[in-house]
């Protein structure tokens, strides 16, 4: 059992380490505009049809100081159909990195999209535009496949589990002594047979009142 205790602990702790990233994602644009230096981040990367997180950092062009009080509007529209433009106001509340301002944007389809950033601070204003390619959304398909394959993986593990159990039973039958370390130490890992689970120990004892209905 001991090597397994170690392995189990390592696995449990290793799995716990996987965490979502909470920053702005991948840089899409980093450019000077007017008195500002503007950096646009996007997640996921590459962008896919569906929801995406876009976040922006605004810095003073000269000092590089992060400007937290700027007002940022982001407009996105498919290149082919500019009429479908949507505009969102970015906010710090939506960004886990509070040096950025973020918003969730819905890319309704794959293809080329135009992004226009309008940054204002006091009397200063600057605008910046860029183009990006949105790929067909696969996140939903990936999600579905993940959840459909999950039970398959667990069933496979269960099959291995049952195979190991069977083998142990056979070996114990041949040698007459249990192989499992756990079993030699105590009754901890002794499987309870279904027949045991069925037992209702006292119901048939003499002197016990019969059910009256």
């Amino acid at each position: 059992m001991k090597p397994f205790c170690r392995l189990a602990a390592v696995l449990v702790l290793g799995v716990s380490a996987t965490a979502a990233r909470g920053d702005g994602g991948t840089m899409l644009l980093h450019q000077d505009a007017g008195p500002f230096t503007i950096t646009l981040f996007a997640a996921p990367q590459p962008l896919q049809a569906g929801a995406a997180d876009l976040s922006v950092m605004v810095q003073d062009r000269n000092s590089g100081e992060v400007l937290l009080d700027s007002v940022i509007d982001l407009s996105v529209a498919p290149e082919a159909e500019r009429a479908l433009q949507q505009t969102v106001r970015l906010s710090r509340g939506q960004a886990s990195n509070r040096l950025l301002q973020a918003a969730t944007v819905h890319f309704s389809r794959a293809g080329k999209w135009r992004l226009v950033l309008l940054v204002r601070r006091g009397n200063d204003a600057a605008s910046l535009s860029t183009e990006c390619t949105v790929e067909p959304g696969s996140s939903r398909a990936v999600l579905v496949w993940f959840y459909v394959l999950l039970p398959a993986g667990i069933i496979l593990l269960f099959v291995v589990h049952q195979g190991l159990k069977l083998r142990q039973k056979k070996q114990e039958g041949i040698s007459g002594t249990p192989r499992s370390v756990l079993r030699t130490e105590n009754s901890w890992c002794k499987p309870a047979p279904l027949s045991k689970m069925n037992c209702h120990p006292d119901r048939s004892e003499p002197g016990f009142p019969a059910t009256r209905h």
């Binding site: 090597p3 397994f4 716990s16 909470g22 100081e65 589990h161 309870a192 279904l194 209702h200």
Partner: protein, 771 residues
């Protein structure tokens, strides 16, 4: 850096849901196991071990949730600090907690025994575990992972992709746990080889670290292009940031390697007595063998939990709940008749169909039959009882679930055929019919005949509660043996006994139990508890149940479960776009000949019968296959009955997936509906409602994840139950597989249908679409 910017940095915390929940679960598991071991081995698990383990988890959380994580894309220094915590702080702390045995002891005993036991005993996995925790493998794994992830291409990949970034972190943490393993030798591991070998082991790792750190510090160019291309913050250049990161790795990293080198050297050179003292920190399996007491685990008894127990046993506790439910039902009826005609703007459209149904199913899965406990229809039937006319016994030939099953199917059909959810008046009439039926039946018949034999809602809850994690059981069978009055069923001067005729010492599981607590209050020996049980135990066991008999001989209960399962799929399917469109087209083409409600009733009956017949055929086919050339003992009735009951987890998962969708999309409907109702009643103490479309509680992808996860759990539990049953019946495993195969195939088809349903656009019932 201005105050505002530094404030922004310090408030840049992320709360990664899965990591936080995983770490909390690990902490709870460890503490549970640690407390258990301390009872028998206090010298082995002093409090500092628990503090170390919890400190390790906390450090891990800091690494993945603090501003270090949110700034790692902007500052290499932040990123390196994060890696340093993951590789040099977290692993030693966790291992000092000797986590293996406490984590296992924290799990339910049966999960370790039946679930993990066979893996623990497999020689191949033993060998693999021995290999990966050996010093050579561990040293190489950690250093290779460390160097490989610092190659610019790999590092850039992790910066670009959140998924790879997580893999990188998992690699660092996993290999570092392996690396620190031979150094700390957490109990109950045994040291392999001489501890002198640990000196070159640690110094070698420090040399690797020093080499990489020096390269970063003295390199004249930015190694990782992302930092060069990105915005610079806090006035640090990319090159300066890189040099700072290298210096940090060098100095702090070396401290983490060289301090243990010094400690081990001192320990090895010190007299024997000191060595033994240090051994008690790391532990030695030769001296300290794991000892697991065979004392049965204490079961959680909700009636013994301070506040909850008192509430559940309070003399008028149930009546208080019922009164609230009754007043709510009266308001719903009144609003149904007098209020807004649109279901989505009326209490009668919103409360029962969006809220009560969903919370009822959630309650069944996490607690028990709470709906029956607080059932509003009980108050009029109490009144009926008090009239003193209840002298008749429910006819013996009607003592089964068949009428209730027919009523349940009738209800499922009428719900769709008459769009009850969208017609508040019809909902109100339905409630009135319910009150009247409960009153009439229980005025003339003794006991709880309405609940036990007629109420379709009750039967749904009884069937669903077979998966509930709590059940009422006697605390000591010996006390019942000594008991001469049997008040739990006979009742006494102050308290009536069980009206459902469940005799506690022979009661098994939740079937027919309304959680009324009459038996608990009646028992003079305080011998009844509300115990936690594994959720599938009720379906797995087949004892003779009081007032029910064996499940394997109750075809009516099997069909009841099938009705619940079928209802789940049919009810959800009828709401999805493609099915609704097809049915409407079919209805249009046929309505000229036959009225639609009649047509749909016939369709429901034919469909239900066909599914029952198919399942019967499937169960029998499995039985026939498994019997080829061999005598097996289960009867056809038993196989059909118990396989049908094993479908329950999938059915309840479908109900939960469907009803949660409505709850999550229509969660905001109740407030405006209450305002609307008060306006309709002419009560002007509430403002007029603000009807607006609210965003669902979860995003579309998260909603889908929850639904699919529920279906996955339902599928796995159903298959597990099927396998345990097949194993129980068949002589050999190969026969069990044959017995299971046709049934498991039909389960897979049902699961596929469920997945298809949740992927379709579903009608947003109970939600205002056009404000």
């Amino acid at each position: 850096m201005s105050d505002e910017v530094s404030q922004a940095v310090w408030s840049s915390w992320a709360f990664p849901f899965w990591a936080t929940s995983g770490l909390l679960a690990a902490a709870l598991l460890y503490l549970r196991g640690w407390r258990r071991i301390r009872r028998s081995r206090p010298e082995l698990f002093p409090p500092w071990r628990a503090w170390c383990f919890l400190g390790g988890l906390f450090a891990l959380w800091i690494a993945v949730a603090s501003p270090l994580d949110t700034l790692d894309g902007l500052l290499l220094t932040a990123h390196m600090t994060q890696h340093l915590i993951l590789m040099s702080v977290v692993p030693p702390l966790l291992l000092l907690g000797a986590p293996a045995v406490p984590l296992l002891r924290g799990l339910p005993r049966s999960a370790v025994r039946d679930g993990l036991g066979p893996f623990f005993s497999a020689p191949v996995l033993h060998r693999a575990a021995r290999l990966v925790t050996g010093p050579a493998f561990a040293w190489l794994a950690m250093n290779i992972a460390y160097l490989a992830w610092h190659v610019p291409r790999a590092y850039e990949l992790a910066l670009r992709s959140p998924g790879w970034h997580e893999v990188e972190h998992a690699c660092f943490l996993g290999t570092s746990l392996l690396f620190w393993f031979p150094v700390i030798q957490p109990w109950p591991s045994v040291g392999r080889g001489s501890r002198w070998a640990l000196l070159p082991y640690l110094i070698g790792a420090d040399l690797v670290n020093t080499g990489l750190a020096a390269f970063l510090t003295f390199s004249g160019r930015v190694i990782y292009p992302s930092y060069a291309a990105g915005p610079r913050v806090f006035g640090i250049t990319a090159l300066g940031d890189q040099a700072a990161a290298g210096a940090l790795m060098w100095v702090i990293g070396s401290i983490f390697y060289l301090v243990p080198v010094a400690a081990i050297a001192i320990h090895l050179l010190s007299p024997q007595s000191n060595r033994l003292a240090l051994r008690s920190i790391t532990g030695s399996a030769k001296i300290l063998r794991p000892k697991i007491p065979s004392r049965p685990a204490k079961r959680l008894d909700l009636l013994r939990v301070p506040l909850i127990g008192r509430l559940l046993r309070a003399r008028y506790g149930r009546m208080a709940l019922q009164s609230i439910a009754f007043v709510t039902a009266v308001l719903v009826i009144a609003d149904g008749f007098m209020g807004h005609p649109m279901g989505a703007m009326n209490l009668a459209g919103v409360l029962p169909w969006t809220y009560v149904r969903a919370f009822g199913v959630i309650a069944l899965l996490v607690l028990g039959n709470i709906f029956c406990m607080s059932c509003p229809f009980m108050l009029p039937r109490e009144l009926g009882h008090r009239l003193g006319l209840a002298r008749l016994k429910w006819p013996r030939w009607l003592r089964s679930k068949w009428i209730a099953i027919a009523l349940m199917i009738l209800f499922f059909w009428s719900y769709e055929a008459f769009a009850i959810w969208d017609h508040p008046g019809r909902t109100a009439w339905l409630l009135i019919a319910y009150f009247a039926a409960a009153f009439v039946v229980d005025t003339f018949f003794r006991g709880a005949s309405f609940c036990k034999y007629l109420c379709p809602l009750g039967q749904f809850n009884f069937a669903g509660s077979l998966l509930s994690p709590f059940t009422l059981e006697v605390r000591s069978q010996a006390a019942c043996e000594r008991c001469t009055t049997h008040d739990c069923i006979q009742g006494n001067q102050q308290q009536r006994g069980c009206e459902l005729q469940l005799y506690m010492p022979q009661k098994a599981g939740n079937m027919d139990c309304t959680l009324c607590m009459d038996c608990v209050k009646a028992c003079p020996h305080d011998n009844i508890g509300l115990f936690a049980i594994p959720p599938v135990r009720d379906v797995l066991r087949d004892p003779v149940r009081s007032s029910i008999g064996r499940f394997s001989s109750r075809i009516d209960i099997a069909v009841l479960v099938l009705a619940v399962v079928l209802g789940a799929f049919a009810n959800a399917a009828l709401m999805v776009g493609p099915v609704a469109a097809r049915l409407s087209a079919l209805g249009d083409s046929l309505e000229k000949a036959v009225p639609l409600p009649l047509l749909s009733l016939v369709a429901v009956l034919v469909f239900s019968t066909a599914v029952v017949a198919v399942l019967l055929a499937v169960a029998l086919a499995g039985l026939w296959l498994s019997r080829c050339g061999e005598r097996a003992n289960p009867s056809r009735r038993e196989v059909f009955c118990r396989f049908s009951q094993a479908l329950l987890p999938l059915g309840l998962a479908m109900w939960a997936a469907h009803l949660l969708f409505h709850l999550i999309t229509g969660w905001a409907a109740l407030g405006p509906a209450i305002h609307q109702a008060s306006a309709d009643f002419g009560w002007h103490f509430l403002a007029l409602p603000q009807w607006k479309m609210e965003l669902p509680l979860l995003s579309a992808n998260n909603m889908l994840s929850v639904q699919l996860l529920l279906l996955d759990v339902g599928l796995l539990l159903t298959l597990y139950l099927g396998w345990r049953l097949a194993q129980h019946w068949a002589v050999r495993s190969s026969r069990a597989v044959l017995l299971l195969l046709p049934w498991a195939t039909s389960v897979a088809v049902a699961y596929a249908a469920g997945v298809w349903i949740v992927l379709q656009p579903m009608q947003m019932r109970g939600v205002m679409m056009n404000p």
